[in-house]
């Protein structure tokens, strides 16, 4: 920072107190520049690290949340057939589907194409992504048509007397 590529232009004709030290090859000068550069890097590091951690805080918190392996949805067993319940699994959206045939399934609701939130359409018997028209099978989560490259991530579902528990498959 303190050294500039244009310095040779600048100090030609001025009587500067420092011109006598301007000899680039003096070992003490080189040593000094080395120490100054190292100190500068230390300063930059000492400022950049807290700023990085500060900005990354929510990402870290989300990472802790996704460490969640199980979510219990109270009263979700009352969900009528042929309907879906949206909930958060950790930090990302997920859906619990009570099929018309009485089956229970749960998927991540994040489209595998570009990350929009998908929705269950019981009358069409499909999971649809409105962003780019991706379609998934509501029983298996398999990508049926449109751009999605992969099936929706499926969860394990356990229906109890007063709740439904969704856990990582």
């Amino acid at each position: 920072m303190s050294d500039t590529p244009f310095q040779p232009h600048l100090s030609q004709h001025e009587i500067l107190p420092q011109t006598e030290q301007d000899n680039e090859s003096t070992p003490t000068r080189r040593a000094f520049m080395g120490v100054a550069a190292a100190a500068g890097l230390c300063y930059i590091g000492a400022m950049a690290y807290p700023i990085y951690r500060y900005l990354a805080s929510p990402a870290e918190m989300a990472a802790n949340q996704t460490a969640v392996s199980e979510v219990t949805l109270k009263d979700a067993h009352k969900l009528p057939a042929a309907s879906a319940l949206m909930f958060k699994f950790g930090s990302s959206p997920a859906m619990l589907i009570h099929g018309a045939d009485g089956s229970w399934v749960a998927f991540s609701a994040v489209c595998t194409h570009l990350g929009c939130t998908v929705q269950f359409e019981p009358q069409m018997n499909r999971i649809h992504c409105a962003c780019h028209g991706g379609v998934y099978d509501p029983h298996t989560g398999k990508n049926v048509s449109g751009p999605p490259p992969q099936p929706l991530k499926a969860f394990k579902v356990n229906v109890a007397v007063d709740s439904v528990t969704v856990s990582r498959a």
Partner: protein, 357 residues
């Protein structure tokens, strides 16, 4: 390659002219040169304010959630306490640095012709700086900031006619509330910067245009006896060294004495004991208090504000009174007026702090 890039940029930006300008710019050196650094220190601290302010903006939420978001910044986000502490400390150091800058300019008579506008813009920047301080102080919405703002807005409210109206508009209602935080936030991060930055640009342009002022003691010497150093790189290096010292002082204060966050503001809880304004508002606060003892009721406040406004107005127009670069009775009167102002500020500040002990 470097030469090619330089030529490409030079043709488009006129780098050579800028370098030639920097090369010819000199800064006087004499016994009082030390005071030349304080404008640069102020600028550096302002840049820190902008930088840490933007970082706080990442998590701060004005309005009803203000306290909760500052609590989050202070206790939940990694190093949030440090960034908030650096912002608060550099705000205080900034006000301190511009006060030192202002008084050194005053006593070195650097406001004289042709630098009058530099003085006026500087005062305007100080005034905006105080408003930055006042509006920023409320944003955490803890007990101290709540009562400080309540009391602070009571002062314009005591003025006849327009006073109560102004205070209500500033508050966004009859009392300090989440509406006050929201509009102080808009003031603090949008309105004030929009006013501050162009003024700062003009101020810095004028410094470049007229160069550093010589104090009367130097002007009295023949030109051949005056010494100067090139701005670039010599003075610039020293400026950077000052910035580094400021950074170290700030880092030390911000990390060793982290800025406190009080209890959440509650309109129903009584004011905490020993509550007092920030140090840079202590002098006017205490002067009002003294006058209030002599002239009880609203009269004291009005007379106080009047006296303070007159004093401030005289301070602002000093270049119009003492504008000629020669020793004169006016110059001496201005000097004594300055000494009186400094003494009054220091004494009332000290008395103010003495009173709350």
């Amino acid at each position: 390659m470097v030469a090619y890039l330089y030529n490409w940029l030079d043709e488009r930006l006129g780098l050579t002219e800028i370098i030639a300008f920097a090369q010819h710019k000199t800064v006087p050196t004499h016994k009082q040169s030390f005071w030349y650094y304080w404008g640069g220190i102020s600028l550096f601290l302002f840049l820190i304010q902008v930088f840490t302010g933007i970082l706080l903006l990442v998590y701060y939420r004005p309005g009803a959630e203000a306290f909760e978001s500052v609590r989050q910044i202070t206790y939940v986000m990694h190093f949030g306490w440090l960034i908030r502490s650096a912002h608060s400390w550099s705000a205080n150091l900034f006000i301190f640095a511009i006060l030192v800058h202002m008084f050194s300019v005053y006593f070195m008579k650097a406001y004289r012709k042709p630098r009058e506008i530099g003085w006026f813009t500087g005062i305007a920047l100080l005034f905006l700086g105080a408003l930055f301080g006042f509006s920023g102080y409320l944003l955490p919405m803890d007990e101290l900031s709540y009562f400080a703002t309540k009391v602070g807005l009571q002062i314009p409210a005591s003025l006849p006619f327009l006073g109560p109206f102004t205070a209500t508009i500033l508050r966004g209602g009859p009392d300090v509330s989440e509406f006050t935080v929201q509009r102080f936030f808009a003031l603090h991060v949008v309105v004030l910067p929009l006013l501050f930055l162009p003024l700062l640009g003009l101020h810095l342009y004028l410094v470049q245009k007229h160069g550093n002022a010589l104090p009367p003691s130097e002007l009295a010497k023949p030109a051949s006896a005056r010494k100067s150093i090139p701005f670039f790189p010599n003075f610039f290096q020293k400026d950077l060294a000052m910035w580094l010292i400021s950074l170290n002082v700030l880092a030390l204060l911000a990390s060793v004495y982290p800025w406190d966050l009080g209890k959440q503001a509650d309109a129903l809880s009584p004011a905490p004991a020993g509550i007092h304004p920030e140090w840079y508002f202590m002098a006017p606060f205490h002067m009002l208090k003294i006058l209030g003892n002599w002239l009880p009721g609203a009269t004291g406040e009005v007379v106080g504000i009047l006296l303070f406004t007159v004093g401030l107005a005289l301070w602002v127009v000093i270049p119009l009174y003492d504008g000629e670069n020669k020793a004169s009775a006016r110059g001496r009167i201005a000097h004594y007026f300055g000494l009186f102002a400094v003494t009054a500020l220091l004494v009332t500040t000290a008395l103010g702090y003495w009173g709350i002990r």
